[in-house]
């Protein structure tokens, strides 16, 4: 199972705790993990990446094993420790606004 940590507002929206575990089919990448997240929690569609284009929303970033992978191709494989569930993929909202 792949683990994903969500920001506060998305946890409230999906009515889940800080972390969710997902079964991801095929290679584990940002695209496949977010796809599995949206399939399990449809209310999150459009909140992390845009409808249609699937483009990452500008104020969100993805972190894997301490590395910012937001700008890498979404289909790039994530590290084994993410794929095997030892480390969570972090979805982080930018610190901005008030």
């Amino acid at each position: 199972m792949v683990r994903v940590v969500l920001p506060h507002h998305l946890r409230s929206l999906a009515q889940v705790g800080q972390e969710v575990s997902l079964q991801v089919a095929g290679p584990v990448s940002v695209a496949s993990v977010i796809g599995a997240l949206e399939a399990t929690y449809p209310v999150l569609k459009g909140t992390i990446r845009e409808h249609g284009t699937l483009k990452r929303r500008a104020f969100l970033r993805f972190f894997a094993c301490g590395e910012d992978v937001s700008l890498e191709p979404a289909d790039n494989p994530l590290p084994d420790s993410i794929a095997n569930g030892n480390e969570p993929l972090l979805v982080i909202g930018a610190i901005a606004g008030g």
């Binding site: 949206e38 449809p42 999150l44 459009g46 909140t47 845009e50």
Partner: protein, 388 residues
């Protein structure tokens, strides 16, 4: 006994305020969706327990919320526990999917260059006057969407954006938003929308085709002050018994039309400033109109530190200040375009909310005011439901 339910959208959540017909003692529930910007909350006239809310965020985008129990509980349409268990499987999660029809195309950017249409948020939700599952959404970048399944899915009424002038529409300082949707209660296929800063548009065929409704508007910031489009209309309002008479608060100027928007004339009269955002009409007096003037386009607060609602009983031109119960010194708040509403009790109640977080009610048509609450987050919208 009759009751009222006031729906307040703020920069940090939604609030539901209820009172009996005296409108003196208020119960405040919220915040719902704490921390999110709630641009608009509005109930269905057909089923008052059905309420739609536009929940939005610069981080997470657009969410549509719906309550079917008068604002006690909320879910994004199509995602309630019952629907999740449906034999069809998971819902599609499309209640926040606002995708422009066809090739989105371009409009004019601030510097005059073509700029692609990009969906940002829903500014205004207008439930149908007849169908509880039908609701319209006015969005930024300016377009009109319609849902016929209670907000689960949306489709664009693209005839508006494909108007011949669409490529020339340009955003105002607050973005290029479709913020006002009026439905003619006597003729459901007739609607008006207002867009900043394009102007007013009317359809007579349910949204398939549109015509500009800006004749008589003058905007001195434009190269051609009387151009067909480019006017920063802030809000329009009508009385249900006389839907051909429209009132408009424009960027500058308060205007009136008596031919369903075919032409407009100025009725600013003796207002201390004719710049403002909201405008509304008394529930039982079609010629009684309310505005809240602010100082100027670059000073978005009330003049002289005094929060004054202005009322005209002649449909404009002659205005009187309504001040009893409102702060008359050191007030520098604004009232935004969707933050004024009227109830339909015998003694018509007037409501408005400020950018300073106060929500006021006058239970007697504006003569006397009192605060429902004075410490809300900055108020984006106020609507009221009269419950009998």
């Amino acid at each position: 006994m009759s009751r009222v339910r006031v729906l307040v959208g703020t920069k940090k959540g939604a609030f539901v305020c209820t009172a009996d017909g005296k409108r003196k003692d208020w119960r405040i529930e919220g915040p719902h969706f704490g921390g999110w910007e709630i641009y608009h909350v509005k109930g269905s006239p057909v089923d008052p327990d059905r309420i739609f809310a536009s929940q939005t965020s610069g981080w997470f985008g657009q969410i549509i919320q719906r309550s079917d129990d008068g604002g006690k509980t909320w879910t994004p349409p199509g995602s309630s526990p019952d629907e999740l268990k449906s034999p069809e499987g998971w819902p599609q999660g499309e209640s926040n999917k606002f995708v422009y029809e066809g090739v989105a195309g371009t409009h004019r950017w601030y510097d005059g260059t073509p700029h692609p249409w990009e969906f940002k948020r829903v500014w205004h939700l207008e439930p149908s006057l007849r169908e509880p599952d039908t609701v319209f959404a006015g969005v930024e970048d300016a377009a009109l969407f319609k849902s016929m399944d209670g907000g689960k899915t949306w489709s664009e009424l693209f005839g508006l954006r494909q108007h011949t002038t669409g490529k020339d529409w340009q955003p105002g300082a607050g973005g290029m938003c479709l913020h006002t949707i009026l439905i003619d209660p006597s003729r459901m296929d007739r609607m008006w929308v207002a867009i900043s800063a394009a102007g007013c548009f009317r359809t007579d065929d349910g949204g398939k085709t549109w015509k500009t409704a800006n004749k008589g508007l003058t905007s001195n910031f434009m190269p051609n002050p009387e151009a067909e489009v480019g006017h920063c209309v802030h809000r329009i309002a009508l009385h249900p018994s006389r839907p051909s008479t429209l009132f408009m608060q424009k960027h500058w100027d308060v205007m009136r039309s008596d031919d369903a928007g075919d032409s407009w004339r100025e009725v600013s009269g003796n207002l201390p400033s004719d710049f403002g955002f909201p405008i509304d009409v008394h529930a039982h007096e079609p010629e009684t109109v309310y505005v809240v003037p602010i100082k100027s386009d670059s000073e978005h607060y009330v003049p002289d530190g005094k929060l004054r609602v202005y009322r005209s009983r002649q449909g404009g031109d002659e205005w009187e200040a309504l001040t009893d119960g409102l702060p008359q010194q050191n007030c520098f708040a604004n009232v935004l375009r969707d933050a004024m509403a009227v109830d339909s009790l015998d003694d018509c109640g007037i409501y408005f909310g400020t950018t300073g977080g106060q929500v006021y009610v006058s239970p007697d048509g504006g003569d006397h005011w009192r605060a429902i609450g004075e410490h809300f987050p900055s108020v984006l919208s106020v609507e009221v439901q009269t419950l009998r």
